[in-house]
């Protein structure tokens, strides 16, 4: 899994590994170190009265974990639960929570230096949830700012 990338001159770049996943049709990434686990336990218990982006609660080996619908949180509609959908359980500063995504994809390595600030015209709800944008060879991928996504609605 570890893909060490060395620069031509042998100087080690600051590399991070990113997990790619789909939210609806959109591709997002997050730092792999923020992820505790990825699972497909879909036995969610709905919580009436919870904010609408809360899908429900999940029993994760005896721990109760709140699962958020990432698409809803990002304002991209609902996530339909199917065979490809996964829960990404993340470590936040106060316990675990998870996000439901439509599909997970590869882990890619990238250099921090290639991350750029989100374009200023990417405004609104979506803009505030991204920490930056990565350029890959043929596409741009948004890096989720996990603290913002997991944060409480002001």
């Amino acid at each position: 899994m570890q893909e060490t990338t060395m620069d031509g001159d042998g100087k080690a770049q600051k590399n991070i590994e990113l997990a790619t996943f789909y939210v609806g049709e959109a591709v997002c990434v997050m730092n792999i170190l923020q992820i505790q686990e990825i699972n497909k336990i879909m036995q969610l218990t709905p919580v009436p009265q919870a904010p609408e982006y809360v899908m429900g609660v999940l029993n994760l080996r005896g721990k109760i974990v709140t699962i958020l619908d990432l698409a809803k949180k990002l304002g991209l509609g609902d996530t339909a639960i199917d065979d490809n959908s996964r829960n990404i359980i993340v470590n936040t500063h106060d316990g675990s929570a998870g996000v439901l995504v439509s599909r997970i994809s590869d882990v890619v390595a990238a250099e921090t230096s290639s991350m750029e600030k989100p374009p200023t015209n990417m405004s609104g709800i979506q803009g505030s949830f991204f920490a930056g944008v990565f350029k890959t060879e043929n596409t741009l991928i948004g890096v989720l700012d996990l603290d913002k996504v997991m944060g409480l609605e002001e």
Partner: protein, 608 residues
Amino acid sequence: MGQDESDVREGTTSIRVNVSLLDSLMNLAGELVLSRNQLLQAIGSEGLKNAEAVGQRIDLITSELQEAIMQTRMQPIGNLFEKIPRIVRDLASKHRKKVELSVNGKDVELDKTIIESITVPLTSLVQHVFVLGVETPEERSKAGKDEIAVLSLSAFHEAGQVVIELYNDGRGLDGDKLAQEAVRRNILTTDQAQSMSEKDKLELFFQLDSGGSDEKGERAAANRPSVKSDIDKLGGQLEIQSEAGRGTTIAIKLPLTLAIIPCQIIIAERERYAIPQVNLEELLRIPAHLIKKRIETVGNAQVVRLRGKLLPLVRLADVLGIKRTYFDKEEEHYKKDRRSRIADRRSKTLALEPQAGAEHVATEQEDTSSVVNRTGEDRRKAPESALNIVVVSAGAMTYGLIVDRLEDSEEIVIKPLGRHLQGCRGYAGATIMGDGRIALILDVSNLGSMAELTPVEADVIALQNQNRDSQSADRETRSVLLFRCSEEESFAIPLEKVDRIEKIQRNDIEYLGSRKVMQYRNGSLTLLSIDDIASVKPLSDKEDLLVIVFQVGAKLVGLLACGPVDTREVAMDFDNVTLRQTGIAGSTVIEGRTTLHVDIEEMTQQLV
């Protein structure tokens, strides 16, 4: 007081644990790892027999581990009692009273969180009792008592609970004065105060809190939740007994731990929820054909008439806003309709709803007719359209929560909800059920306020009812549970003594020598039948039996009975001569039937 609070906060950071306890925990953890390895092996080699043995072992280790971990949280109550002598000494010199304090039961252990949360209410109770209850030396000698008053604080185990008892031999409390004080502080209206029983008035003591007689204390008290709400939050109970001139006894009954609590599991909209047993008063089922008769509308509130009192009703699904908050105004008669709507809730029936709601506001009469038009008579007789009501109470609030179905009572482990759900006030936490799914634990007191019920409103309704219905104003009655043993004879027992009623099959009864037991909440419950002790006709030979569970002293006892069960409000006094025998306290005629009053304490004594 501020000092105490900061002490509590510091205390939460660390805990002192006996090394031997820690050793046994380490031991168990080691065992667990070992068993896990065995289990993995057994699974790998497909040795099903082995797996079974390992499974048993893990089961054992898990329960021991749980017990040991629970023990680490237990702290002697002495830590808390140490603070009391100083408080009493300060009070004594301030109020120029002489008092001798005796403290007992320092070794009794309680969950750390409970000890921490009980500190403030207990000190404020001590202060309050001291100020109101204990007389000055002059008054005491005038009354012919020793100049030095006795104040005792003791802790002991009783019936699986810890009881903290606070006693003084002072002048006793005056219920009327407490009521006046409550009226002055706008806690009660004058009308309410007048209609209260002596016992209720004494209980005001807990709501008035430690204000005492001086104004400063009163102001301080206003900013603090009352002792009663503090204890309620812990799942504890408060009892008070007072005799003029003789003294006052206050008992605080607390659960041993907060981590595991007995709960009633209910189902609403196909999801399970748990209601803590401490909040549970009784379960009520209104058969479909009686709904029209029993459910009434007072103003815009739905109520059910329960033993002469009106009980406000709240539908759980509505309070939680499950799916169809739209149906908020729906009449309680429509259970069956609602069910069908769950199946096809996007269908046209929806469109009818606002009309029905509007009619409902008009009068009850009109409303009923609209129901008939829409659903047809036969539908409302369907057994599944009966209403299941869980009567719950929290603090001064009692209301009926309408749920879809009632399940078992279970001991559950409380787990906290995540940060995103902190805004949901209706839940006290969540728990994981046997099948691995999650059930939310309901916070009865918050649900009540979310439904905009207030204790006052409930009381006002009760009052309106009393004024209108002179019969219920007569308070020399008590509620009894009526049941049968054989088909012919009918028996009664005071309702407040009944813990639960369980439905069982005849073959659930196990015979051990001359004793009968059944499995109940992971243990054995001693069963007795009235005909074991009293000379009455033998227990009916039906297959479906009932077990009425009582708490007698420290243990639970089950009384075998058969239906139909019912509750009635009957006169307090009964004939205790004619039919008196062992286990039978006497008889009354209830609705043309001679009904025998069972004395459960006496029966239990006969058993041993």
